[in-house]
């Protein structure tokens, strides 16, 4: 009985004590996140990879193309974290110097997917009707071509290299973004505050930019983190298949593919860079999952 009596009191106090609004929400969420050690670890690892992509010198003193024939094909040690390849190049350094290529490709792919996907989704969800029907059929067609094969045909047409691979992967993840954005816009569009804003005299453009967009980007952001992992796998796979940057520059996929020939004698050449990539994808997936649970 006492509990039922206490409740109304608490509700009355709320407006005074609790700051309401997006910023308060954000700080509360952040405080919750800090308490998750695995999540923190994942964020730290992803941050480390991104920082090392832009400033590899911070984490290694060697050059990616320095050959030391006397130290060829050495197993991992304190000296060479990931061992050395058959030319005596330090593999850890080569992985770090391979990061910019793959990270750049991932960012290009995500940018394409975000711009095109958000655009398609917003236009489709906002205008509805015939436009919506046409755009969603187009998305269906894109989805009917299995991802990697769509990427392969784009790479065939554009040629090899980091940018074509990034474009190919980016186009492949547009449909997912378009669908998620559209669903969110459709949901937000019918909420009372949109109606209120319209009734208050705001133009549709203003409603779209100030009310619908800020409130529908949450799930899209979660998807973006998840798709960063998907894109990294796809980019690494494409460069593994031999469509990435030309040698001696080495993307992660290329490093792993090259190491494949020495699997018997020097397993670390392909397996350690592979684990480096897998950990990154795992980290991104975990971050995305935690964020998703949070927004629910």
């Amino acid at each position: 009985m006492t509990a039922t009596i206490a409740e109304p009191d608490q509700e009355l106090q709320k407006p005074d004590d609790v700051r309401v609004g997006r910023r308060a929400n954000l700080t509360a969420n952040l405080a919750q996140l800090v308490r998750k050690p695995v999540f923190l670890l994942a964020v730290l690892y992803v941050l480390f990879v991104v920082v090392s992509a832009f400033r590899p010198r911070l984490f290694t003193s060697r050059g990616p193309y320095d050959t030391h024939p006397e130290a060829a094909a050495q197993a991992p040690s304190v000296h060479h974290l990931f061992g050395t390849d058959i030319y005596g190049r330090d593999l850890w350094t080569r992985v770090l110097y391979g990061s910019p290529l793959t990270i750049k490709a991932t960012l290009i792919a995500l940018a394409i997917a975000l711009v095109a996907g958000l655009g398609l989704g917003i236009v489709s969800g906002f205008f509805g009707g015939l436009v919506d029907g046409l755009l969603m059929r187009a998305v269906d067609v894109l989805l009917a071509i299995p991802g990697l094969l769509l990427a392969l045909s784009i790479v065939t047409a554009l040629g090899y290299g980091t940018v074509p691979v990034a474009v190919a992967v980016g186009v492949g993840i547009v449909p997912g973004f378009a669908r998620t954005t559209r669903a969110e816009v459709l949901r937000v569009k019918t909420l009372p505050y949109v109606e209120a804003a319209r009734a208050g005299g705001a133009s549709w453009t203003r409603v779209l930019l100030r009310h619908i967009l800020p409130n529908s980007w949450g799930p899209v952001a979660v998807l973006a983190v998840l798709d960063a992992g998907v894109a990294i796998i796809a980019i690494a796979s494409l460069s593994f298949l031999g469509f990435g940057a030309a040698p001696p520059a080495a993307e992660w996929g290329t490093l792993i593919a090259d190491g494949r020939n020495y699997l018997v004698t020097a397993w670390w050449l392909s397996l350690l860079p592979g684990l480096f990539v897998a950990l990154l994808v795992l980290g991104l997936n975990h971050i995305s999952k935690t964020l998703q649970e949070l927004t629910r």
């Binding site: 059929r137 269906d140 067609v141 894109l142 009917a144 071509i145 299995p146 991802g147 990697l148 094969l149 769509l150 392969l152 045909s153 784009i154 790479v155 065939t156 047409a157 554009l158 040629g159 992992g229 796998i233 690494a236 796979s237 593994f240 298949l241 031999g242 469509f243 996929g253 792993i256 593919a257 494949r260 699997l263 018997v264 397993w267 392909s270 397996l271 592979g274 684990l275 990539v277 897998a278 994808v281 795992l282 997936n285 975990h286 999952k289």
Partner: protein
């Protein structure tokens, strides 16, 4: 029902046609000349050929026609099972694919079956387990499986089971033994994808009132899980069957390349390397056809498996006579 069936088949055909057209547009309309790409990939300087030779080669592959003529020619060909001539090997594309598709279908088919079984088993165990650490571990496992790039899984398998233990051959297509590791490679990804969807679906189903009812009337946990939960949880997961099959087909590209199996996937990889545009177009079209077909079959079977969904026009509901 007949009307729904007809409409759905027409829709599938339209999507397939659009997918073919889109791929054709990507491959033939982008500012690159297939002949030039092909010559560059073969290491031949275009200048070293006389204009007459070049024109003759273009004529031979139909590349001197206008883009519309080429498009109609290809489309008509595809409808008759003719995918044109390979630029690099100069044999009909349908022969190239015909020789290899058996290998790939065997690999993808086996992988699809294995991942269905493994994915369902994992989801089943993950939701049935009572000991919390085990439950958390099993629930997180699919995320791990989906994060590992396939070529890495393949390399780990080769390193461990071929080089260390010597159980399975590292490459080739001889015998059933060579099939094991490629199938496992593909299944790790696809069963993880399936298990993720199934686990979520299971969790939703187990919260339904009829589960409580079944437990309350005295059925054992196992019986409820098998009879009541599994069938209802499997239904939503069926919709991603098309995605699973599509994934097993595209996975054959990386898998066949790593394990050096002579299948369509490796053909696709080689064709991109040698810029063999007709072969790429054919492989993409066939893969899209498989994907669309599986989705069509799932859509048509769905109402049969789930009587709550019906595509027949709603019959007038018989009035309940209340006395």
């Amino acid at each position: 029902m007949a009307r729904y069936l007809g409409g759905r088949i027409v829709q599938a055909a339209a999507v397939l046609w659009a997918a073919f057209t889109l791929t054709f547009a990507i491959l033939y309309l982008l500012p690159s000349d297939p002949m030039e790409l092909q010559l560059a990939a073969a290491g031949v300087q275009e200048d070293s050929l006389t204009p007459g030779q070049l024109a003759a080669m273009k004529h031979r592959f139909g590349l001197d026609q206008s883009i519309w003529q080429q498009y109609w020619h290809h489309l008509a060909g595809v409808l008759h099972g003719d995918f044109g001539t390979s630029l690099s090997q100069q044999v009909p594309v349908s022969d190239l694919i015909g020789q290899r598709i058996g290998q790939t279908l065997l690999l993808s088919g086996t992988a699809a079956v294995v991942s269905l079984l493994a994915g369902s088993a994992l989801a089943y165990l993950a939701t049935f387990a009572r000991w919390n650490p085990l439950r958390v571990f099993l629930t997180r496992l699919p995320a791990l499986g989906a994060s590992f790039p396939q070529f890495l899984v393949a390399l780990f398998l080769i390193q461990f089971f071929s080089f260390q233990l010597g159980w399975f051959p590292a490459l080739g297509t001889q015998g059933i033994k060579s099939l094991v590791m490629p199938v496992v490679t593909i299944s790790v990804l696809t069963s993880s994808v399936l298990a993720q969807v199934l686990i979520k679906s299971f969790d939703d189903t187990l919260r339904q009132p009829y589960i409580v009812t079944a437990r309350a009337k005295g059925l054992s946990r196992t019986a409820v899980h098998v009879k009541h939960a599994f069938r209802n949880a499997a239904l939503p997961a069926m919709t991603i069957l098309g995605v699973i099959v599509g994934l097993t087909v595209t996975s054959s590209i990386v898998t066949e390349t790593v394990f050096t199996r002579e299948g369509v996937g490796k053909l696709a990889q080689e064709s991109v390397l040698s810029q063999d545009v007709p072969v790429v177009l054919a492989v993409v079209t066939i893969a899209a056809a498989i994907f669309v077909l599986v989705n069509l079959v799932v859509d048509l079977l769905y109402p049969l498996l789930d009587p709550r969904i019906s595509h027949t026009r709603a019959r007038p509901v018989p009035e309940v006579v209340t006395t």
